[in-house]
Amino acid sequence: MSFDIDIVVRYGPLLLSGLWTTVYICALASILAVAAGLAAALLYGLPLRFAKLLCRVYIEVMRGTPILILLFILYYGGPSIGLTLEAETVGILGLGFYGGGYFAEIFRAGFQSIPPGQIEAARMLGIPRRMIVARIQIPQMLTLIIPPSTNQVIILTKESALLSIITVAELTKNTTQMVNETFAVVEPYVAVALLYWLIIEGIALAGGALERRFGHAS
């Protein structure tokens, strides 16, 4: 068995374009996931039964449904309720809200780790709620939430391979195209594995850097 580096070079541009698509879809989806997760965790903290219920349902649905099914529902089911979305948009929304369910739990655990007395002291000083979140709760949660958040972004990135099934021209889809056109198997899959490894290593490094930068809460 020989490794034909020429094929990889020839298909380099296609692979790199897939890489770029994967990176920006995952970046946007991660931002959405963090925002949705934070919103859900904050809503969960409100003294309203309805808000709590809403969050519970959101988290349960996201956790209880395979991501592929969510993507199918959005992509193929969307048009029947007048929601026609580009495949990439479906990818970002699907991965984002799916990841949001997990981020919600990460943030919720983070908020719960702050002793309520600290919040009461802040309220007695008249500090507005959003400032309490931004300046007292979140900075102290960082040590706790950065490692699982890094992990979650890595998982999300690996799940993004499923977007190939709904025709998004990302890394996996372009690799499949390469396989189909060249009949080579080893070269494309080794190349793509290396590229995914690069992305994930990058995320892990960024997470580690964040942890070192913000990880000294007390």
């Binding site: 009461e120 002291a121 802040a122 008249g126 500090i127 507005p128 709620r129 102290q140 007390s218």
Partner: protein, 259 residues
């Protein structure tokens, strides 16, 4: 002189689920007076203080802070919870000190004191830090300004917490067992700061198990048991001439424990 009490509590009731924790409390705290609340564990002292700050919303009755109703809005007999903004506004004259200090561990002593000055009063860093340093010096921890709470002793942490409350120029200070979490040798330094505050004319409500402090500093002592005020009066009457059996029993238990 302003004759209106700084804090006025009328017929306060509070339930936690089925538990009736406050059963009709009345209390008036006039300007520059020190009221100490004593009573056995579970009698509702903390709940009263927290209701007087609306940290625990009360169910019935009223709390007025400098004449303004705290926590609720009343329109033709019905009352609804007030907006956070209004609650903050009525509450802004109250400074509160907790048993467990509740400092923010990710900020230095100075950072703890300046936080509300920056965020609420919107002062610039320099002005906030000037006040912060002044307040820390006032409670005797001026040299600890740049230390994080974890580096401070319990007494220093509590004094920092007092400085944090004082920085907002409160008209009344609430203390909930401010020395109960402290090692015995650190109690004195905190009580001394409180006594100095009282001497400066600060209006204070102090929930405490420090009978010595209550006897020396209080203008009025309120004895609570089972969610009710059983007895109240000047410290001399409360400690030397208790009328009710329950107060006598409480004082006896306390004396036998401290001798």
């Amino acid at each position: 002189m302003d004759e209106k009490p700084v804090v006025l509590v009328e017929g306060l009731h509070k339930h936690f689920g089925a538990a009736h924790v406050l059963k009709g409390i009345d209390l008036a705290v006039d300007s520059s007076r020190v009221v100490c609340v004593i009573g056995p564990s579970g009698s509702g002292k903390s709940t009263l203080l927290r209701s007087m700050a609306f940290l625990d919303p009360y169910d019935e009755g009223r709390v007025f802070i400098e004449g303004r109703l705290l926590g609720y809005r009343e329109t033709d007999g019905k009352r609804v919870r007030d907006s956070d903004r209004n609650i903050d506004s009525v509450r802004s004259v109250i400074g509160m000190v907790f048993q467990h200090y509740n400092l923010w561990p990710h900020k230095t002593a100075l950072g703890n004191v300046t936080e509300a000055l920056r965020v609420v009063r919107k002062l610039g860093r320099r002005e906030a830090e000037r006040i912060g340093v002044e307040m820390l010096a006032k409670v005797g921890v001026g040299d600890k300004a740049h230390d994080f709470p974890a580096r401070l002793s319990g007494g220093q942490q509590q004094r920092t917490a007092i400085a944090r409350a004082l920085a907002m120029r409160p008209h009344v200070m609430y203390f909930d067992e401010p020395t109960s979490a402290l090692d015995p040798e650190l109690v004195g330094e905190v009580l001394q700061v409180m006594q100095e505050l009282a001497g400066e004319g600060m209006t204070m409500v102090v929930v405490t198990h420090e009978m010595g402090f209550a006897a020396h500093v209080a203008d009025e002592v309120v004895f609570m048991d089972g969610g009710e005020v059983i007895e109240r009066g000047p410290p001399d009457d409360i400690f030397k001439r208790p009328r009710s059996g329950r107060l006598r029993e409480f004082l006896d238990t306390w004396r036998s424990r401290t001798i």
